[in-house]
Symmetry: C2
Subunit: 316 residues, 2 copies
């Protein structure tokens, strides 16, 4: 394969939270940062304590600006927790932990959204203020809420993911508001741009983090018709999920836990799949390449970004 | 004078911020805490970064629950400042400093007020959560905003007090919304209760902290007709203000800076005035007593509270 870092054109990446942010970080080190556009899931967004929280956007902003808590995987490094302690003393909820520094982002966003500014404009301003070269776009400025039908009833995403630690058995997932949501300005343009070199789907949870993006009318169609190759990085490593409920959800949704199921899930959207080299051999039924897709450190992240770009370049 | 701590009945105190909170703290140590009702100025309240801040109520809650930063005079002891640092990195305003722990109170109040709860109910809950025995009542659940006409134009209170450090020359003070505001539930009842032993006016700024209270329709009248004696603690010590812009404001409003002017300001409201022993001798034109009214430490605060109560008891 040719050295992908020398190929021209912008790269678009559809991403969810922690795993996706690692890939985007790899991309901005493999490429000029201003050639990278991240389109981010907002189905996890919710209002907590009156504040508008956008977990996947926040994780990406912290990761790209070097502020992320690497060990924890979310939030800010060197965070303090005086707010949570005081909130607990008031009898307030403490199941969703908001760090003191993290709060600034939520308060700032809430205030500006209440004044009528779109999430996309606020996100762009934060990225600029923090010196982030990549473009960070929410999938939509309209509210979309990931909801899970489960053996514990209908659950909002954060109730399932944080409060209940993904324990309930899920029977269906839906994206409230998605049908009426419009892609944020720049989303369809980036996907459809003839100058776009590659479109990547990060190894985020396909059902919880990527499907909300695909549920926004216009995004799936734009991916299908894009001139740039679309390559997903499989979220499976060695036949299971690295982290999070991907494998558990696949079992609950009666899917085989393998890359073929991932490829089928993205059928009509992707042109290729980057598969972890530890996965059982087999044909996922789509163009693919194998690589070490674990992303422990920055060199790993750059390597995975480059492997995904190389697969995409081979499919042009 | 008799020992006031042995007299029966509840004590009501009208108070503003830091100085007033010291007197209320003295009162709850001189008396059973649950016999003390503080009626607090809310004219300084404002919305900052989308959060509803009630500086005088907060100072009192922190002081009475032992959380106040004694050296600074406002905010919480042992506070952290991660929020402000992150807000500055976002380009947000930093002229009004919100500590990390302090934020919990503002976020909690803002969320509950947005859900339609009155400030008085939220304040009572916080007092209960923090083990405060005294009753803490906002003067009103309706919004009142202290506005200053000055040589720098019309200024909102916090703009004058915090952002401009009281530098502008003030020509008039008005209380926006006061005419339509109703006293919070319990305010008129506490003032008018025949079982009330004494009503004190704290040595808060008469023009900025006490006048808003007197501008809420019904409060001045209730004080005039109260069966309990009403005693103000003069904010002047040794002929000037201990802290804050009281003396500067009196000069700008063309008032002599003396206790006679304070007594005249409260004419029709108070029955007596507690004057600092360092003040120039003279008759303020109303029943009065002299005492050391400086409140450096808790014994000082208890002593001033007892002196004010003794004067009130002598006027029954």
């Amino acid at each position: 394969m040719s050295a992908p870092e020398n190929a021209p054109g912008n790269v678009v990446v559809l991403t969810g939270g922690v795993g996706g942010a690692k890939l985007v970080l790899g991309l901005i080190h493999a490429l000029p940062a201003d050639g990278v556009t991240a389109i981010v899931n907002t189905g996890d967004d919710f209002t907590h304590l009156g504040l508008r929280v956008s977990p996947d956007i926040d994780t990406l902003l912290y990761t790209l600006s070097g502020k992320a808590d690497q060990a924890q995987g979310w939030g800010r490094a060197g965070e303090t927790w005086s707010f949570m302690a005081a909130m607990a003393s008031l009898g307030g909820p403490d199941w969703f932990r908001l760090g003191d520094g993290d709060l600034a982002l939520h308060v700032w966003r809430t205030m500006r959204m209440a004044a009528g500014e779109p999430l996309s404009a606020i996100t762009a301003d934060v990225a600029r203020a923090w010196g982030i070269g990549a473009r960070v776009l929410p999938m939509s400025d309209d509210p979309v809420a990931t909801m899970l039908e489960s053996d514990a009833g209908t659950l909002a995403f954060q109730d399932y993911f944080v409060a209940r630690r993904c324990a309930p058995v899920v029977s269906a997932i839906r994206f409230e508001g998605a049908a009426a949501a419009r892609p944020a300005v720049g989303v369809l343009e980036a996907i459809g741009d003839p100058a776009t070199r590659a479109i990547l789907i990060a190894p985020s949870n396909p059902f919880l983090s990527v499907d909300p993006l695909l549920a926004v009318p216009g995004i799936r169609e734009a991916l299908s018709h894009a001139s740039a190759p679309v390559v997903a990085v499989s979220p499976l490593v060695g036949g299971t999920a690295v982290k999070g409920p991907t494998a558990k959800l696949m079992a609950e949704l009666a899917l085989p836990i393998d890359t073929t199921a991932i490829a089928r899930h993205y059928a009509g959207v992707i042109d290729g799949l980057l598969v972890d080299e530890r996965d059982p051999p087999g044909d996922p039924g789509i163009a693919h390449a194998r690589a070490d897709t674990l992303m422990h450190d920055l060199p790993d992240r750059i390597r995975v970004a480059q492997a995904a770009l190389a697969l995409a370049d081979s499919l042009r």
